[in-house]
C-alpha cells in the first residue's frame, strides 16, 4: 500500500530537490506534503539540517542580526538510515 508518507519518502530518496516539487510529483497538496514531512521528521524517518546560507555556523544564536532578521529558515532534508 502506498500512501502520502511512502510517496514523500520515495521522492526524498530520489533526490527531488524541493518540497514544492515533491508535492507536484506526488499529486499531494502542498499542505499535506509539508505535514507529511513534519511527521516523518518527528518519527525520525527523515533528518533535517539548517542550511547555513548567509548564516553563522552556530545558527541564529551567534548572529549579530538575529534580532532584525525576518527570514524563514531553509532546511535540508535527508532520509535517516
Amino acid at each position: 500500500m502506498s500512501g502520502p508518507l511512502t510517496a514523500v519518502l520515495a521522492q526524498v530518496e530520489a533526490g527531488t530537490p524541493t518540497l514544492v516539487e515533491i508535492a507536484r510529483r506526488t499529486g499531494l497538496s502542498e499542505e499535506v506534503t509539508r505535514a507529511a514531512v513534519d511527521h516523518l521528521l518527528r518519527s525520525g524517518r527523515l533528518a533535517a539540517d539548517q542550511v547555513p546560507i548567509g548564516c553563522p555556523p552556530g545558527g541564529c544564536g551567534g548572529c549579530a542580526v538575529a534580532a532584525t532578521c525576518s527570514q524563514p529558515v531553509m532546511l535540508s532534508l535527508s532520509v535517516r538510515r
Binding site: M1, S2, G3, P4, L5, T6, Q11, V12, E13, A14, G15, T16, P17, T18, L19, V20, E21, I22, L28, S29, E30, E31, V32, R34, A35, A36, V37, D38, H39, R42, S43, G44, R45, D49, V51, P52, I53, G54, P56, P57, A64, V65, T68, C69, S70, Q71, P72, V73, M74, L75, S76, L77, S78, V79
Partner: protein
Amino acid sequence: MSVAERAASSVPTLSVKQCCHTGGGEGAGPQSPVVALAGAPNTGKSTLFNALTGANVTMGNWPGTTVEVSRGAWHAPASCLCEGCTCPDSQPLDITLVDLPGAYSLDPHSPDEALTRELLIGGPADERPDIAVVTCDASRLTGCLYLVAQLREQGLAMVVALTMGDVADKRGIVVDVDALTERLGVPVVAIDPRRRGGLGGLAIAVRDALGVPAPDPRPVPADADALALEDDRFSWIADVVEAATTATAKDARTRSDKVDRWVTAPVLGPLIFLAVMWLVFQVTTTIAAPLQDFLDTLFSGPVTDATVAGLHAVGLGDTWVQGLLVDGLIAGVGMLLTFVPLMTLMFILLALLEDSGYLARAAVVTDRLMRRIGLPGRAFLPLIVGYGCNVPAISGTRILPNARHRILTALLVPFTACTARLTVFVMMGSIFFGAYAGTAVFGMYLTSIVIIVLVGLALRGTLWKGEPIEPLVIDLPAYQVPTLRLTASVTWVKLKGFLQTATGIILVTVIGVWLLQSIPTQPGEAFGEVPVQDSVYGVAAQAITPVFAPAGFNSWQSASTLVVGFVAKEAVISSWAQTYAVAEPEEGGAPGDLGVAVMNTFVESSGGHPIPAALAFMIFLLAYTPCVATVATQWREIGGRWTLFGVGLQLVVAWTLAVAVFQVGRLFW
C-alpha cells in the same frame, strides 16, 4: 522510570480521574465528568483552557514526570433553554477539565506525547477521560488532524474545537465545519478562545457528546506495519482536508512556486544563476569604480601630502617614520580602504539576493549540479558559504555525517573564491580588462566552480571511490520583498568584518612587509633607505621568482605578493601598494598610479603577453592556499596530514592551471 517506559509497561498509575494526586490539581468534584483537552502545540489549547476555567486552576508536574498538567473546573452552562424545563441539560454542569501537554500524535516521541497517550488511551476504560476535546488550528488543519485520526481509532468520545479561524481567513483558507464534522465522524465547533467566541457552542457539543455513546472506531488495515498504518491515517487526513477546505487566495507561496518553476529548472536555473551573478559583478565594478578612483586619489594625494607635510613640520620628514606611515600604512591600508565602496555595494546586492530568497534557489541549482557529477549532495552547503569566507565554510563541513565526505569537502572549500580574493580580482580586472572588469571577475567565479568540479571528480574517482551519495531535499522559503533594515544590518556586519580584517591582520602584515622591505641585505646600506629589490623582502622574492616563469609572472613584485597573500588575500593589494610606493620614485613612474606600475611589471615578465599572464596570476591566486586562518581551521577539522595534502594539492592545481592558461593564452594575445 521514564514516562515513555511507563507507557510501554502500562504501569497503572496514570489516570486523569485520579484527582487525589498532588500534581493533578483540583477539578469540579469526584462525580463530575472529566474532559481532557488535547491538541498539537500552538493550536490555542491553553488559551481555551484558561477561557473555560478562569482562575479556578491548579498547575503542576504530573506525578512521576516533569510534564506540566493543569486541572480546573469548567462550569458548562445549560444547553437547554426551554422555559420551565427540568431536563438535565437545563442545569449548568460542572466538568473537570484537564489540560494535557501539547502533542502532535499519540506516538510517544517525547515525554509530552508519552503522557498524553498514557492519559487518553493507556489505562483501562474506566480511568480514561469521559471525552476529549481536541483543538485544531484551522489554518494548519492537516498538521493537527493526525492526533484526531489516532483518537478516532480508539472509540473515545471526542469534540474537535476549531481555532485560529481569523488566521485561516487571512490566508484565504475556508473550512466547511459541517463537511468536516461529517468526514471526521465527530462534532466540530469553531471557536475563538481569545475573544471567548463559540464557547457556548462548545459546551453544548460536549454535553451532547457526553450523553451519547462514543462513535465507532475508524477501521484500520489489519496486519499493517507502522509505516503502512501511518500512511493510512495520512490518506484519510488528505481526503478529509480536501473535502472540508477550500483555498481562495493566491498567496505569496503560490507566486513563489510559479517563479521557482523557471528559476530552479534543470537547464534554465543554472543559466539564470550565472546571469544574476554576472549582473552583480558588473553592477558592482561599474558603479564602484568612480568612488574607488576618488578614494585612491584622496589617499595617494591629499592624505599622503598632508602626512608628509606634518612629519616635516615635526622634524620626522624623510625618516623611517615617514617610510612606515606613508609607504607602509597609507599606501597599504589606504589602498585596501579604496575597496570599501565596492565591498559595500557587493554586500548590499548579496544581502538583497539573500533576503529576497533567491540565494536559497541558487543552492538548489548548485546542489543538483553537485549530485549530477557524483559529489555528495550536502557538500554544496559549506561550498556556498565558502564564497563568503573559507573559514566558517570548513567549520560547516561538520554537517556532513560521513567523515570521508567531510574531508573531501574541506579539501574543496579553499577553491571557492572568497570575498577577500574579490578585491584582487577587481583590481586586476580594472587594470587589464578595463570595461570588461566585471566579466573578468565573473569569469574567476566560473573558473572556481570548474576547479571544484574537476578536483572533486578527480578525488572521488581515486581516493573516495564508491562512497554512497545521500539524497537531499530543500524546503524553500517563499520569495519576499527585501527589507531595508535587514539589508542594512547584514551589509554593516559584513563590512565591519572586512574593515576589522583590514585594520587587524592587514595592519600587522603591512608593518611586517614594511620591516622586511626596510632591512638591507648588503653592507653599507641604511635601514629604511634601501631599494626594495635589495631588501630582505626583495631578495627573498627574487629567489622564488623563477618558479613562476612558465606562468608569465616571474617578477619579484608579483611573486612576493603571492607569498604575502598566503597570510591573507587582503594583504596582496596592500603589499603591492607598498612595493610600488617605494619603488616608483626609483623608476620615475607617476606617484600613486599602481595600475600602470603593475601593468608594466606584467608586460615585462610575460615577454609582451600581459593579458594571459594576468589571467594566469588571477587563477593562481584563486586556486592556491587562501590564508593561514583557513589552514588552521582545516588542521583542526581534518587533521594535519589531510591539511598538508590539501595545501600541496592547491599549489599543484594553481601552478598547473596558471602555466596552462599562460602558455595557451600567449598564442592568442
